[in-house]
Amino acid sequence: MFDLKRPRLAVGVLAAGLALALTGCAASAAPAEESAASVTIETNNGPMEVPVEPLRVAALDNTSFATLEAFGVEPVALPKPLLPREGFNEWASDDEILDAGTHREPDLEAISEAAPDLIIGGYRFADFTDELEKIAPVVDVSPSDESEDGFVEGLKTQTTALGAIFNKADEAESLIAGLDEAIEAAATATDGESVFLANVSAGKIDNGAGRIGRLLEPLTLKDVFASEDLDSDSVHVDSGIAPETIAQANPDWMIVLDRDAATADGEVTPAKQVVAAQEAFTKTTFVTKDQIIYLDSYFYVTEGIQAYTDAFESIASAFNAA
């Protein structure tokens, strides 16, 4: 009964928003405390009318989790396997919050059972938008490499949009100010140095440009393996690279995404150990000068505005200390 009622209700709220008529809400038998207002936001699929302060939110885009938490929004459904193992323990252990599965195997029934008024989708779940639309309206405000101004700018757009939906414009603004400040600090601290972006996965060091190349967007750092035919669309960006090739490129710095630490329940060979064991690196600048920046262990699954703010802060402090 619940299941049947909710989607209709969501449609009702949307309609009400369009007409700006409270009677519309009453007609669809909405409880009085349901918000009647709505706001038009720019999504990755064009402008969309979204109810303000929706009560039941299914959060699927992991880049939004930390922001939602900061806004005091507790989702009704979440892809729990994508939660970092630290920092979201309350959500992870709360049985009231249903597990939406992962983007490889989403549990659409659980999402439906949670009866959300709004689904924050996109990013890893972008492929499921059509199916999710049948459950509730889906907003996709995820940052994206394809967006005109790049991923990092996308983080700001996302935060502004979430601020508008949850009526937390001030909080959103301060998050964005924090990111801008960190970018500014990192941009000041760096000056065209060369860098290798590494992704350590299954104990192997690969090129991580496809994943964290975004960090360089607002900075002047030069990726040693950046080239026209190796843009992030190339399938070969992450297919493998020999340690000797990295040693030959001899970058000044290395920035490491520790994928193993973020995801593996079992085998965790911390990236530090893998890098330290790499004999081929011993004569490189980044090893001899100890110029290696390890991103937060959970960066691979956080990736939101807070994660990028932290990353830019650690870049700034590492370069300032060098």
Partner: protein, 322 residues
Amino acid sequence: MPSRTIIQTTSVVVVIALVAASLFVGGYNISLGNLFTDPAAAEMFLISRVPRTLALIFAALAMSISGVIMQLITQNRFVEPTTAGTSQWAGLGLLVMLIVFPEAPPMLRMVAATAFAFAGTAVFLAVLRRVAVRSSIIVPLVGIMLGAVVGAITTYLAGTFNLLQAMAAWRSGGFSGIVRGFYEPLWIVAIVAVVAFIVANRFTVVGLGRDLATNVGLNYDKVVLLGVTMVALSTGVSTVVVGFIPFLGLIVPNIVSMVRGDDMRSNLPWVAMIGVGLLLACDLIGRTIVAPMEIPASVVLGALGAAVFIVLVLKQRRTVSA
């Protein structure tokens, strides 16, 4: 036959050239000239090039010798570790180890992979014994089916325990990360290869079938057991160190048999050599065409092997009534 002599001489020269190429092609600037003048180049040669070339040689030996032994045991030309499920079982063993004992040292992982490979090969032989129709196509189909089932179980388990990407990285069979300190277990394969040379004649007799082999005084079961052990050991170790290497064990023994006939003892050096040459060539293609990135040798080999497999099947149909 003069043409055979020409073919054999040419292949010796080509394989030697490939070994040289493997030692001197790569991301780090090493040439015959600076090898003796630049200590950094000499060091990188020992850290990266020699181990990688040795790893390629050992892995090729492991797969091609395993292919010969399995083909004689099953009296079928299309059987080898990846078409009989042996590799997939080794993979399952590795994954089970990652799940139940994630901190296990590499040696223990290899023991697990080898034990699973052994059990899997035994299962394959047992199933085969109960299959009434043992035509040249049915036998590998049974193996491929078993392998697919085991592979599916592995994928399911990996998905459940969040190890999918670790499994994918490992499955893709790359040599890009091979440096000193990573390939050493493959020396076990060298020992297996020596044993194979010593007992080659017995496998040739096994290839005549159980009745004939027993008639000429061979302890059939004992030799089969030895063969399965050798196959499991080489497959288990090479699977853990470099991942799946498809088709090598299938293509190489068949090509050699086409040229030289079916005496395993005199064929074995050729099988070993052609196998090494083929894998070296695939790895060289993989490391040059998208340089500085790399394509795993197994991917190149998979594309090549699939084509040769089809040719062999069609050829077989013409000469032997399946």
